[in-house]
Structure formats: structure tokens, C-alpha cells
Amino acid sequence: MSTGRVSIVTGASRGIGRAIAIELGKDGGNVVVNYQGRSEAAEETAAAIRANGGQALVVQADVSVAADVERLVAAALDAFGQIDVLVNNAGITRDGLLMRMKDEDWDAVHNTNLRGAFLLIREVTRPMMKRRQGSIINITSVVGQIGNAGQVNYSAAKAGLIGLTKSVAKELASRNITVNAVAPGYIETEMTQMLGEEAANAMRAGIPLGRAGTPEDVAAAVAFLTSSKARYITGQVLNVDGGMVM
């Protein structure tokens, strides 16, 4: 189904981004695997895509830097000639209570999680508009919907992504470009390993389906929303959270 399709996945060196990149690379998909620092991990993602018969191009770029984003999208167009899917997945946390939060921690989280998505969308819009086709997914979080003590920066950026998703969906709908957000709940990755056992157990207790999610659970939702089966869906937030938020 994805034969010949070209996808850019930011932050695809590990965790959720890696699972999404591997999923989109199935059935002959072409995937641009972006990472910031861990090139070996990114190469592992690419190797997994190739092992499944897909094509992969690894590109280092900091999504919060406009020049890097331009270079990333140009490399994708150079290699594959078009862009069908963009997944804004790169994200970081810098947790701390509001009263003690440093300006840098606020800015860093906004720059990567929100500004990065804006820069990438702005850059891919023109090639997508020309072909009257495209699908954009922003990875937000349940925390952007319900808030979380200790994550004012992260939850604000993730809520911002939801607003961005809806506005861009309205701007680009007439060009047959769909824009949706996926909101994971508690997914087992490096990001959540930092939580510690006690907090992790408390999280699990609040999940109706009774378990943490996997990166593959999130990737399956992205695969659906970027497939032709979802062509009439735009401006939505799909929760992949075991029922945490409903």
C-alpha cells in the first residue's frame, strides 16, 4: 500500500519515532529518518527499514533550527523527488515545577516540540500543495489535553501543537492535504524511563486498559491516519492512551 510513498519522520532514531519510521517503510515505502545526536541509533532504524524492503535516508537535523529544517526537506526532495507524509515526532521534556522552572527549560521544550513542527510544516507545504496531496501528523500528548503538574512547558507546547494541527488543517484542506494529531498516553520509551518505578506504577493504575502502551501502538495509529483509508479525516486528535483520556 505504501509503495513509492515518501515519508519524513523527525526524531526517528529511537522510541516512538523509530516505530513510526519502520511502519511507514513497510511495503516499499521511502523514509527519511531524522535524528539530532544519535547517529548510530538512526542507522539502526534505517537498517530495520531496509531489512523490510523499504528505502531509508538518514539525515541529521535539529528541528528547532530553520536552516537545518530547510536542509532536511531539500535532502528528502533530492533523494525521492516528493513528500507524501510528514510526521512531527521529535520531542523533549525538561520537567520541573512552575515556580522553579528556568527560562531555558521553557524555551528548549517550545523550540523543539512546537517551533520545530511549525518549521517543518512550512517547509513541506509547498511541495505537497503542488501535488495536491499530503498527510501531516503531529505527535502531541494526553498531557496537552489534561495538563500535568511538573510539565507546564511540555503541556503548553503539546496543547499548542493541537491548535497548530487544526489551523493548518483548515488552511490546507482545499489542497487535499490532511493534518491530524496523535496523542499518546503512557508509552514505554527512554522518555518515560526517566520517571522512576513509583511514578510509573501510579501512571499504570490510571490506565483503563491496564498496561503501558508500546511505540508500535502509536505507529499503527499513524499508519492509519496517513493511509488512503483516512482521506476524509482532518483536524482531529486521535488518542492512543489505553483509555486514559475520554
Binding site: 509547498r126 500543495m129 503542488k130 488552511e171 482545499s174 489542497r175
Partner: protein, 79 residues
């Protein structure tokens, strides 16, 4: 000069808006006569900037309403 610019502009408009070439006169307005919406106009402006290697400010872009406006603007600003 203006004629050559007009021909190049015409070609871009035909490509972008899929309209008949003979509809593209200097008096033709993008919105009413050529059926362009606001996104079409943004795309056109970006393509014209690439084709003629110049930058059209948002302020100037807002003043553009006819094909003739574009041809005049480009003829005046080309280096």
C-alpha cells in the same frame, strides 16, 4: 522587456491556475477573472519570486490584483 516578462508570467499562471492562455490579459484580476483563491496567490507569488529571483514583500503582494500589476512590479524591480 515588459513583453518578455508578461510571457514568463503568463506561463506560470497557466501552470498554476490551469486557465486558458487567452484569459490572461493585463487587465485580468487574479481573484475574479482567473479564479485564484488566497492560497493560489501565495503560491503564485512564491513561484514568481523564484522565476525572477526577487523578493516580493507581503505589503507589495497585497497591492497586486491584476496580471498587469505583477508585470509592472517585476519590470520595475528586476536587477
Amino acid at each position: 522587456m515588459a513583453n518578455e516578462v508578461f510571457d514568463r508570467v503568463k506561463k506560470i499562471i497557466v501552470d498554476r491556475l490551469s486557465v486558458d492562455e487567452d484569459k490572461i490579459t493585463l487587465d485580468a484580476t487574479f481573484k475574479d477573472d482567473l479564479g485564484a483563491d488566497s492560497l493560489d496567490i501565495v503560491e503564485l507569488i512564491m513561484e514568481l519570486e523564484d522565476e525572477f529571483d526577487l523578493e516580493i514583500s507581503d505589503e507589495d503582494a497585497e497591492k497586486i490584483s491584476t496580471v498587469g500589476d505583477v508585470v509592472t512590479y517585476i519590470s520595475e524591480h528586476q536587477g
